[in-house]
Symmetry: C2
DNA sequence: TTTAGCACTCCAGAGTCAACAGTGCTAAAA
DNA sequence: TTTTAGCACTGTTGACTCTGGAGTGCTAAA
């Protein structure tokens, strides 16, 4: 803020104290209350003066004249900024989390457990998505004939994501043709992104249209039925902990819009990719989601991308009310991302 | 109820009227209000008498002395029972539903859309699960080596359910061995239930322990890693429409327990299989879930199994407050089950 | 058997009031 | 110059009261 110069050490401490008491009690906090539980013994009057300054700087708000102060959105931001250095978790909690992830075999599984853990240890909703999307590198594909004109396509990406999809074909192909087609794709496009593979395949098919052989016809048919599609609906999305929202006293209407938003999987993906982009390393805290989603103002996102080496394989976050334990949630998110990296490097 | 003999035609009509006005208004309904909107012109006094009878029979309740009447759980049951004959849906609504299911390729997909549709057209939560479980008949299995000691197993059941799972092996097998193992299992156990297949395999392995060849060793290793396991966590579970719950005025605490229950996927499966058993044909309405889940008393389940021919491939239901549009929801559930049967028979 | 009338009950909302927590300001103390 | 004590002022909250209205149950008449 422009007024930040006026914020000295004492102001910071008082702001922190206010935010923390407000988070734990939920009531506007007054100078007297603060004076009582304050380490340095400042009188209520002094605190009042500081509070007036902070309010003027836009970091605090006052519900009405004779009430205590409540942190403003800016106030939360300032608080969190000052916090972000200190990140650690109680060892026994680290242990608990680690136990939950014991035996995790693949990314989907990991993400599912992530949303669960996050919902347990935070006051918000645990959200986790796999990266999905057309940018994924192809590891390998397999086709299996299920019934007349129905084929199961199983696509495995480099990152270890598995996606299966039942294709409805316009003609019936025997298993032997499917195997050949799969082999062709695997041999030629291993490591390509799904997007590129599909495009290249398309153009090859067009070029050589004259000299079609049976193999290429199968491949074309499979592509047309969407074997390589990995469009919008494809990422896996895990949401858990919606019940947490009802614990706190909150506006019903707002909770409802949040719940509704969480049910539109599209929007979750948007939200997470909007705020947790690829380059960013650490845990990110976004206070007030109104930029990306106007109806989710006054909610908070604490999240990070899950990467194995350089590649982003998913994103995880907690979405909750402004009144939540930032410190703790940030630590947990951070710890889980580290765990992710570790578990996935161990096993590949 | 024991008192049913005292319930004549007029009583029934008045009960129905009370239930319906209460569902739409949410307020206890009094004799005067009812008298005004009643087709046959009965006076408030007459209605009062009938209401007293119904209350005595346990079908109505009175929040307090000078308030109107509210249907009791028994009252709802009676109301629904009388209703169950008439089931039809507006043609344009049938159309809408059908559109949503357009292009559905597999059971999982169908169930996902089901939960979505149900959440849209009801005032409750749309829930759908695939049948899963160890009883499923095996159609075919495929193994794919992913990395050192990591194998992807894809299992397709008779009903068209696809389940993939990454196995962590204790030794590394080349793809060729995996293919042989898959072929062995497919040739020997096609049509068997997963449970039986696993058991039989187990015993064969034990018998012939002496004359182990490479093939059987692979098979054993795969089985041990859980290739055929299809235990508790395996069914797919789709829940949507939790936001609907917040629309109605309801006790926060109760909503919370419901939300929490819906997040424990175990319990959803239990709930649905408890009430929607295999033999039962039609839509089932359970008013008051307290038998199976004490904490979900006062909620209602309206659901049905989804079958293709004789086999049950999934279950679908709406879970919501007692105050909901029974008629409509029942029709929708019924329509979707018919659609399921149709779509899945078309395509196999 | 149905209806009109009446006394009675209880709730919901409006209004009043006092206690209370908190503020801002001023003047004194450090 | 900074901190603190004191004091007047303000808005909220909960308790209390009161009143109108909706609804009931009962009785007596149609």
């Amino acid at each position: 803020m422009a007024n930040s110069p006026s914020i000295g050490r004492r102001e910071q401490e008082i702001l922190t104290a206010i935010v923390e008491t407000f988070i734990s009690t939920g009531e506007p906090v007054g100078s007297r209350t603060l004076a009582r539980r304050n380490p340095e013994h400042l009188s209520a009057a002094t605190i009042r003066n500081v509070m007036a300054d902070l309010a003027e700087a836009g970091l605090l708000e006052q519900p009405h004249t004779s009430a205590g102060r409540v942190p403003s959105v800016e106030g939360y931001r300032y608080y969190v900024e000052r916090l972000s250095g200190t990140v650690k978790l109680a060892p026994e909690e680290e242990k608990t989390i680690e136990d939950v992830f014991h035996g995790t075999a693949d990314v989907q599984d990991f993400m599912e457990r992530t949303s669960h853990v996050l919902s347990l240890i935070s006051q918000g909703v645990g959200v986790a998505v796999t990266a999905g999307g057309p940018k994924q590198g192809l590891d390998h594909i397999h086709f299996q004939r299920l019934a007349d004109q129905k084929v199961l396509a199983v696509v495995v990406t480099r990152g270890g994501l598995v996606r299966d999809r039942v294709l409805r074909m316009s003609c019936d192909l025997p298993q032997s043709d499917l195997d050949l087609a799969a082999r062709y794709i695997n041999e030629n496009f291993r490591g390509w992104s799904l997007e590129d593979a599909q495009r290249e395949l398309q153009s090859r098919l067009e070029c050589e249209r004259s000299e079609y052989d049976k193999l290429m016809r199968s491949v074309e048919e499979l592509c047309r039925s969407g074997a390589l599609n990995s469009d919008a609906d494809s990422p896996d999305i895990f949401v858990e902990g919606t019940a947490n929202l009802l614990a706190r006293e909150e506006d019903r209407q707002r909770l409802r819009t949040l719940l509704r938003a969480l049910e539109e999987k599209q929007r979750i993906v948007q939200l997470l990719s909007a705020y947790l982009d690829t380059r960013q390393e650490a845990v990110r805290v976004v206070i007030g989601l109104e930029d990306a989603m106007p109806d989710l103002s006054n909610f908070v996102l604490i999240g990070a991308p899950a990467r194995s080496g350089q590649e982003v394989l998913g994103r995880l976050a907690v979405i909750g009310p402004t009144r939540m334990d930032y410190q703790h949630t940030m630590s947990a998110v951070s710890y889980i991302t580290r765990l992710f990296d570790k578990l996935l490097n161990d096993s590949e």
